[in-house]
């Protein structure tokens, strides 16, 4: 699925060599999915109480990937809490147009550290949101 940028790279043909590697990865994924399915027959996901427009439950929990966002909204006023993720996504989307310098090992290290810090904060917020 690639081209050689540098003609000195050692290469393998896509088909059948790389294709078979990818194929076995896909097979493993499917086997995990089957295992999850079997687990789902023993412990079905189930449902909560049917929806009732008149009764608000005490604890409303979102899906786990939104927990960090919900927790952020508990800490900052509503407008800011909505704008921060939106502006964040926009910055992420146009990042290649902001960061145009040719890449270097130092830049890579800065990005790595920044990403690790961001993920730690994100995971912490998610866990915090899950507990409160």
């Amino acid at each position: 699925m690639t081209e050689t940028d540098d003609k000195q790279d050692k290469t393998i043909p896509f088909f059948p060599d790389h294709f078979m590697t990818e194929f076995w990865v896909a097979v493993v994924i499917i086997l995990i999915a089957v295992a999850v399915g079997v687990g789902g027959m023993i412990y079905p996901i189930g449902l909560g109480d049917p929806a009732d427009e008149l009764n608000t439950p005490d604890h409303i929990k979102a899906e786990w990937y939104f927990l960090a966002l919900y927790q952020l909204l508990k800490l900052v006023p509503k407008t800011a809490g909505v704008l921060i993720p939106i502006i964040g996504i926009i910055i992420v989307a146009v990042w290649p147009f902001i960061d145009k310098k040719p890449d270097s090992k130092q830049q890579k290290r800065i990005r790595l550290i920044g990403t690790v810090l961001f993920m730690i904060i994100l995971i912490a917020m998610t866990i915090w949101g899950g507990m409160s």
């Binding site: 050689t4 290469t11 999850v36 079905p44 449902l47 509503k78 909505v82 145009k100 890449d103």
Partner: protein, 349 residues
């Protein structure tokens, strides 16, 4: 020579023959079943508790129901030998599918086996070089459509060995998970009913009554979570390794669109069970969307189809989850893959 030509023709048409047999079996067995049903000759399960005739006789006599002592009118007629036993196995539920499928499966295996024996013998006897079945099929297609001219450059593209490291798999894993979600999603959509009255019970039906329904639902649920994780992991890998830089800027942008689509799937799909958690989590989520300054109200009313989460919201979320987002994600996945293919993987530093 004449014999082998005849045999070759016979086995070549063997599969067509099997299909014909199958059709005849379906028709005759359903006509047979109908006739038996009409004549009242269908018998109950042979493992059901049998009538204890002595006990009935005792009860009839003790209660003096029939003073003459003749109990024959109170008892059902003695059952005859199970008439279905000449085709079915004793104790087996006398429907049509089990024997039919037995004939079809074993018959097909038998035909395939016989064909294999004949083919091997013919090739050996004629000293022809052995071409496997797949090779013969691809040569047949290529002679007609010249597919290998198009496929060759794609399949033979050299892959640098650094591209076989595990972190380059994350995007492909995300795509595999999406395919799984699509398949399980279609299977769920076969039974799910997107109305306020029936959504909850249709999911209960899927989990309890549909064969493997609980498994399909579990795969769909957990694969969705897995896809979010893999999508973010892939994005982090690309970001850290600087693979978003020129000339790959648009690829990164299309990737962000895919990320937002993934979250959109999660948001819209979460409402569909229509239980308390789904309803109120979606209420809160749309409330947050309504917090955007100026256009927030518009967004909220558009998402909720009104001011509150109602059955109309469910319809809209279902349509987005099943029509809008799949089209969008497939289009952008196509663009994403084409761009990766054309430009190649970014070389690491």
């Amino acid at each position: 020579m004449f014999m082998s030509k005849f045999l070759r023709k016979l086995y070549r048409y063997g599969f067509l023959f099997m299909i014909l047999i199958g059709l005849i079996l379906v028709i005759t067995s359903s006509v047979h079943a109908q006739k038996m049903r009409a004549e009242g000759k269908t018998l109950p399960f042979t493992d059901q508790p049998q009538l204890n005739r002595d006990l009935v006789e005792q009860v009839v006599v003790d209660l003096d129901i029939d003073s003459s002592g003749d109990v024959s009118s109170t008892l059902p007629p003695t059952p005859v030998q199970d008439q279905c036993l000449h085709c079915h196995i004793k104790g087996e539920f006398t429907n049509l599918w089990i024997p039919l499928s037995r004939w079809m499966i074993l018959g097909t295996i038998g035909i395939a086996f016989a064909f294999g024996i004949f083919r091997n013998a013919w090739v050996w006897k004629n000293r022809k070089p052995w071409e496997t079945f797949t090779v013969r099929i691809s040569k047949w297609i290529d002679a007609r459509y010249q597919v290998s001219d198009i496929l060759s450059p794609i399949l033979k593209k050299p892959v640098p060995t650094w591209a076989t490291r595990w972190w380059y798999c994350l995007g492909g894993i995300t795509a595999t998970l999406f395919v799984l979600l699509g398949i399980t999603g279609i299977m769920l959509a076969f039974y799910y009913k997107p109305t306020a009255d029936q959504a909850y019970s249709s999911i209960q039906f899927i989990e309890n009554q549909v064969r493997f329904g609980a498994a399909i639902r579990a795969i769909h649920h957990w694969t969705a979570n897995g896809m979010v994780v893999m999508c973010v992991a892939h994005m982090l890998r690309v970001f850290i390794m600087g693979a978003f830089k020129s000339p790959r800027e648009l690829n990164w942008v299309s990737g962000v669109v895919l990320l937002i689509s993934t979250f959109g799937f999660g948001l819209t799909g979460y409402l569909l069970p229509w239980d308390q958690r789904a309803y109120w989590a979606s209420t809160v989520a749309t409330e947050i969307a309504g917090g955007v300054p100026q256009i927030g109200e518009l967004i909220l009313v558009f998402m909720r189809v009104g001011w509150n989460v109602t059955e109309a919201t469910l319809s809209r979320f279902y349509a987005v989850h099943v029509l809008v987002l799949p089209i969008m994600i497939i289009v952008f996945m196509g663009l994403h893959f084409i761009m990766v293919r054309r430009q190649g993987l970014a070389r690491p530093l």
